[in-house]
Amino acid sequence: MTDTREITLTVNGTEHTIEVEPRQLLVHAIREELDLTGTHIGCDTGNCGACTVLKDGEPIKSCLMFATQAAGSELATVEGMEELPEARGELHPLQEGFREEHGLQCGYCTPGMLMSGKALLDENPNPSEAEIREAISGNLCRCTGYQNIVRSIEYAAEELEEGEIAAADGGVTVDGDGSTEASASVDYDIPDGEFDCGAENCCGGPTTDRKHGGSTTDREHGGDFGGDSR
């Protein structure tokens, strides 16, 4: 029978142990073993970027790495974006930006674009247009001509910045209708049990309060993409 290895990966905050062939590419493991088909394959030469995921916070082309090389790492894929703290339990600001600014047409390159956009904004929360274009230059899109993708990432940068400011102002924003909601950096409203970083009162662990507190240290636990660089 085919030789296989057992590897453990943490994907979108959940640990998985899977059997892979030594020659199996990471992208195939993500798609076929973990059934996360939001990560796409657009070429066989590492040029298109459709398979971009974050590995320990860095954007990588998952077709250029064997699954075994990723053993023990934390991966983030498009399927986990809505559960990131800054998503406030809804679409992530990047996803929202792509929708608002018509940053996608066929959608095939989009998950990879989102991942590259996420990596950029983690590193550089206020990028110039040139910096955005540079950051996504390893991700090909045949539909949009990129302009609206640039706008989408700019949109997300603004949204995230507003969230940060709101957080600095006390962690609560007041909506136009007078209702309040926790700001991006502190609201981590996912159902209990979906994610567990192991600590008490945190990330789905043993809990006395379903919501997380306002301290930024909470954000360093698990829910973010494999290590927050901010």
Binding site: T2, E21, R23, H28, R31, L36, T37, G38, T39, H40, I41, G42, C43, D44, T45, N47, C48, A50, T77, V78, E79, M81, E82, L91, Q95, F98, R99, E100, H102, L104, Q105, C106, G107, Y108, C109, T110, P111, L114, E129, A130, I132, R133, E134, I136, S137, G138, N139, L140, C141, R142, C143, T144, G145, Y146, Q147, N148, I149, V150
Partner: protein, 795 residues
């Protein structure tokens, strides 16, 4: 700045949906990873297909030994072309457009006698896993007798080379003429000046981000085939699979196009691969999946363009165009793809009048077989090639006459009061205000001032160029009768079903098929407008031949005008039936019923009213309908337009060229498009952006090439440049709105316009920059090297 105003486009009653820049309904699944493309779908027991392809451009197959591959672990079967023949299926990939004297050679699913281009499928391996299938490929032993090959369409016809097909000894598939040769010769004899250009339009490779794929599931017990595939036109695929390759009755084939990751033409066609996938499932009784690699896409997706052309234009000294004469050799590749004959003939020669009043036009096209990947329609298809020729001719003529190229265009534009305008190239343009769009584009760049700046910079040794591309497009090929007269083996209609559900929601079933255009949003807007309901109440379904009975699909910028037109017509029928129910229940005559924002009310008594969604419920209750009326509230519509629609516009590019390095920088790119009424301005702008990107790609970066051995030299994404984000500028877009007078919703279509415009615009700009060097034309793709050579860098 924009005078776009899409309100009042429809005679529906005012939900305001039509013309609104609403967000797309299709986005959330695509943004969250839950949207399913073909390869994302798995069935229990799915097997995997890999296809062995020819490494040779032209060779006779002597033998194929599959025994080693068959013996490999996990391999279920290895099939050759002989196996397909023996199975007794029709095994014929048909052309879909006949031309006078057309040579139509046999085109089989797997080659049996010869391979005629690198990448020709010769054997199929089905295995339990993807890896096992691809591992087995190299254990299939094929013996070939190599033959001399030809890849250039002029060489194929002019040189003494062995024929690609024995049926066409001179490699001529067709010799096509359009226009009046005598009148054109006379015009040239009488004119003051003649300008000419020799040009090549290189092969382009569409590069949809999702490579082609298929998943076939044959159910022996019922004799039914389900086939998920990357299709722009599932019904056309169903028909071609039935009549051409597999011979199954059409009602035993279900073609499903799930999310499709771009197409640009490449997913229109019936290729061997998807048929082989289905055939393998029929042999094995198990689901079979085939996913092309990008390398396979380069070798097998139909390429576009491949024209070698001499164009001439005759003018008077005052700039009046008298005639245009064009001779083109068009490479068709090794086989006739479905529209491979139509694209370089009717779709090309008929637009050679562009936006201009040209009394005499003649065009001859020699369609040549070559040992290359088949060529067919790629975004812009034929119209892109034709507009490129006329726009290059106008530019070189302006140079010849020492006239401003904008001015020369202006003098020859078809004036607004001349519509419908019958061109000398056999089209009747529906409507246009060409000068308005051109003025708007020139205004955006401040044209006169820009020319002044150009002169000043030249004195400083800097070279900016201003390029102009004025275009028309013939969109939504129709009517069916005309298409038939010209040789089409398919109609130009579109079909849809508009259905009120019993609780008031609306389902629209559309025969087109989206690959990113946003039909689910724009069609919902059309239906909502006509029915006076919210866009959120409308669900659009596409891409499944078992759910949508008939359709023609998405290509040739037809979906908004023909598909949208069909939906509007169907919705109006639904509305009128509802009106009759309203009149009956409000006890008044139909003529006294007014419709406003979803509400039917009695004229002069607005409080006596029924909402259309209430009537939908009544229609399905059937308790209280007008005498003789059948229950239910849905309409099936077939819409066969009376004519093409004619989108148009003018694009302007400003570039700076650095002669010493050959570098080209695009400073500005302004696009003014007129696509008639605009259903969703956000989506229209997105189509324009993407179209420009592909046009700029063609002008500056792309272009497939074959080496001396007949191998594709540009076979990877790092060898064939698909422009990336740092290679494209920001685009400035604007619109004028000139409704199509014959389309039910006034739309003209926008899918291909910008691609058609952008390539000539950029080439015009670079040539303009290089005027001081005496350069009036450079072939695409214009690389730094070609600029450097043209400006004497290599001297």
């Amino acid at each position: 700045m924009s005078d776009a105003d899409a309100s009042g486009a429809s005679d529906g009653d005012g939900s305001g949906a039509f013309g609104a820049a609403i967000e797309r309904g299709e986005d959330v699944p695509l943004l969250t990873g839950s949207g399913e493309y073909t390869d994302d779908i798995s069935l229990r027991g799915t097997t995997h297909l890999a296809i062995r392809r020819s490494d040779h451009a032209h060779a006779r197959i002597e033998s194929i030994d599959t025994s080693d591959a068959e013996a490999m672990e996990g391999v279920l079967a290895v099939f050759t072309g002989e196996d397909v023949v023996e199975s007794g299926v029709p095994n014929t990939i048909p052309t879909a457009w006949d031309l006078p004297g057309l040579v139509q050679p046999q085109y089989r699913m797997l080659a049996t006698d010869k391979v005629r281009h690198e990448g020709t499928p010769v054997a199929a391996v089905v295995a339990e896993t993807r890896h096992a299938a691809s591992d087995a490929l190299e254990h299939i032993h094929v013996e070939y007798e190599e033959l001399e090959h030809v890849t250039d369409p002029v060489d194929a016809v002019e040189r003494d080379v062995p024929p690609v097909h024995d049926e066409a000894e001179d490699n001529v598939a067709f010799d096509f003429e359009l226009g009046d040769a005598d009148a054109t010769d006379e015009a040239f004899a009488d004119a003051d000046r003649v300008a000419s250009v020799d040009l090549r339009q290189p092969r382009l490779i569409p590069n949809a981000m999702e490579p082609r794929a298929a998943l076939a599931d044959w159910e022996e017990a019922t004799g039914k085939l389900r086939l998920w595939m990357t299709s722009q036109n599932p019904h056309l695929h169903r028909m071609l699979l039935s009549a051409g390759t597999l011979g199954l009755p059409e009602n035993k084939i279900q073609v499903i196009a799930p999310e499709v990751g771009g197409g640009f033409g490449s997913k229109i066609y019936h290729y061997p691969d998807e048929a082989v996938t289905a055939w393998c499932s029929m042999q094995l009784g198990r689901p079979v999946k085939w996913q092309a690699t990008r390398s396979e896409s380069y070798l097998t997706d139909c390429h576009g363009r491949d024209h070698v052309t001499t164009g001439e234009i005759a003018l008077d000294d005052d700039g009046t165009i008298r005639g245009v004469r064009v001779e083109t050799h068009a490479g068709l590749g090794a086989q006739l793809s479905q529209f491979g004959t139509a694209t370089p003939s009717y779709l090309y020669a008929t637009v050679l009048s562009g936006q201009y009043t040209i009394p005499a036009i003649h065009c001859r096209v020699v369609g040549a077989f070559t040992n290359t990947t088949p060529v067919d329609a790629y975004r812009g298809a034929g119209r892109a090639e034709g507009i490129y020729v006329i726009e290059r001719l106008v530019d070189v003529a302006a140079r010849e006459l020492e006239m401003d190229p904008a001015e020369l265009r202006r003098r020859n534009l078809v004036p607004p009061d001349e519509f419908p305008y019958e061109s000398a190239a056999a089209l009747v343009y529906d409507s246009g205000e060409y000068e308005r769009a051109m003025d708007l584009a020139l205004e955006h760049v401040d044209y006169e001032e820009l020319r002044e700046r150009q002169r000043e910079l030249r004195d400083e040794g800097r070279y900016i160029g201003i390029g102009i591309g004025s275009f028309i497009e013939s969109a939504g090929l129709s009517p069916s009768g005309l298409a038939g007269d010209l040789g089409a083996q398919a109609g130009g209609w579109e079909s849809s079903i508009v259905r009120f559900d019993s609780t008031g929601s609306v389902t629209v079933l559309a025969g087109t098929a989206d690959q990113g255009q946003g039909h689910r949003t724009t069609y919902a807007q059309v239906a909502a407008e006509e029915l006076g309901v919210s866009v959120d109440d409308v669900t659009v379904v596409e891409g499944d031949t078992d759910r949508i009975p008939q359709g023609m699909g998405t290509y040739g910028s037809r979906s908004a005008s023909v598909g949208g037109g069909s939906i509007a017509r169907g919705a109006r029928e639904v509305r009128e039936k509802a009106r009759r129910i309203a009149a009956h229940q409000l006890e008044t005559s139909v003529d006294d019923i007014e419709f406003d924002d979803g509400e039917f009310h009695v004229a002069g008594a607005p409080d006596r009213s029924l909402h259309i969604q209430t009537i939908a419920h009544e229609a399905y209750l059937g308790h209280d309908l007008p005498e003789g009326m059948d229950p239910g509230l849905e309409e099936t519509n077939f819409y066969d337009p009376e004519n093409f629609t004619y989108p148009f516009g003018t694009h302007v590019a400003v570039v700076e060229v650095e002669p010493e390095t050959g570098e080209i920088e695009i400073e500005r790119y302004v696009a003014v498009d007129d696509c008639g009424e605009i259903i969703n301005p956000m989506i229209v702008e997105g189509q324009v952006h993407g179209g420009i990107a592909q046009g700029i790609g063609a002008a500056l970066y792309e272009g497939a090439a074959y080496d001396d051995d007949g191998h594709l030299r540009t076979r990877r994404m790092d060898e064939y440049v698909v422009p990336h984000a740092t290679q494209l500028p920001d685009f400035e877009t604007d619109n004028t709105v000139t409704p199509s007078p014959h389309n039910p919703i006034g739309v003209k279509g926008v899918g291909e316009s910008a691609t058609i415009a952008a390539a000539p615009t950029i080439v015009s700009a670079v040539a303009d920059a290089l005027e001081p060097f005496g350069v009036d034309h450079l072939d695409m793709p214009i690389t730094p090297e070609s600029v450097w050579r043209a400006t004497g860098g290599d001297n």
